[in-house]
């Protein structure tokens, strides 16, 4: 991995996790941060999406976020490149292939699995985070998996099995804690001391932070002995319901 100032990071989603993760990566001075999002700021985002204020409601997250990052980190050497799109099966491999590291803070399982599969196929390290109610999680996978995101989560859950933060609610500062864990994992990768193969979980109500080992599965559909996923196909990432607010 390159030194901090020459590392190119792809950030997927500029929401509750992505906003503070972007701030921390820019503040730390990564070489380049490409940010993917195609959403507009909604008032219900503001309790957790710290790059935005009330005057940004209705505006593009990328434009508002870029202005905030420049205002908050005027001295940062980071080149910030906003790309107004979601991570999609059509663009994922091309977007990831140009980068050294992918950081994913999206709000839906389809994007999380797409990101994990893309990073494995492109042999890129990947940091992934999530937050719902009082709990946030973060993990990083190495370019060769073993273990990878699918060793743990296997397949997309049905829409009725996995509440997102729009349905279940979430505390803003818990999301912020998760973003700090994500940025920490990303910086460890960049600095050459990654913490692959562990998942961190923080329960804000009980104030419990845990680091669990993830186990490689020999029957993992992505990095196992007889992988089923060797290309990115739209049909793999169909999810019956997916909230648009990141």
């Amino acid at each position: 991995m390159n030194a901090l100032s020459s590392t190119r990071v792809l950030l997927v989603g500029l929401g509750g996790l992505g906003s503070p993760a972007a701030l921390l990566l820019v503040r730390a001075g990564v070489g380049e941060l490409r940010i993917l999002d195609d959403d507009a700021v909604d008032a219900s985002n503001l309790h957790r999406q710290i790059l935005f204020g009330e005057r940004d409601v209705g505006q593009s997250k990328l434009a508002s976020g870029l202005a905030s990052l420049r205002r908050l980190c005027p001295e940062s050497p980071t080149r910030i490149e906003p790309i107004e799109t979601r991570l999609l099966p059509d663009n994922a491999r091309a977007l990831a292939s140009e980068m050294d590291l992918v950081v994913e803070g999206s709000d839906n399982f389809a994007t999380k699995f797409l990101c994990a599969d893309t990073c494995y196929l492109e042999r890129k390290p990947c940091v992934q985070g999530a937050a719902v109610r009082w709990v946030t999680t973060a993990l990083s996978s190495g370019p060769g998996g073993k273990p990878c995101y699918r060793c743990l989560f296997e397949e997309l859950p049905g829409a009725d099995q996995a509440p997102n933060c729009a349905e279940a609610g979430v505390l803003g500062s818990v999301v912020g804690f998760g973003a700090a864990l994500m940025a920490e994992l990303a910086l460890r990768i960049i600095r050459g001391s990654p913490d692959y193969g562990h998942i961190y979980s923080y329960d804000g109500k009980r104030d419990a932070l845990r680091r669990h080992r993830m186990f490689q599965r020999t029957d993992c559909p992505l990095c196992g002995e007889t992988p089923r996923i060797s290309s990115i196909e739209w049909s793999t990432y169909l999810e019956s319901s997916c909230e648009s607010n990141q």
Binding site: P20, L23, L24, R27, A28, D42, A43, S44, L46, H47, R48, I50, E54, V57, R133, W134, C165, A166, E167, A168, G169, V170, L171, G172, S173, V174, G176, F177, A179, A180, L181, A183, E184, L187, R188, R191, S193, Y200, Y202, G204, K205, D207, L209, R211
Partner: protein, 94 residues
Amino acid sequence: MIMSNLYERQQRLREIGVTGQAKLQSASVRLASGPGAEVARDYLCRAGLGSVSIEGDAPASFPHEAYFQSEVCLDFALGAWVATRQVVEILELK
């Protein structure tokens, strides 16, 4: 400008709801100055607290410090932790 759904996503938490949100909005919090204080203030203001001030007390000791090697991340995590602890305390969830 007051926007009705500013707190909607946290009010969906059963521990918060309308009653908890009212508690948060009538609470006044004083934070110790130092690393993380601005981050904590930002999250608490966004959670709708009545008032949040930063004063020159001793900074909070952070039990999760060992998990963070990056100072940038450590300071932010500390702030998010302080804000979360304040919310838990105001709502008497402990």
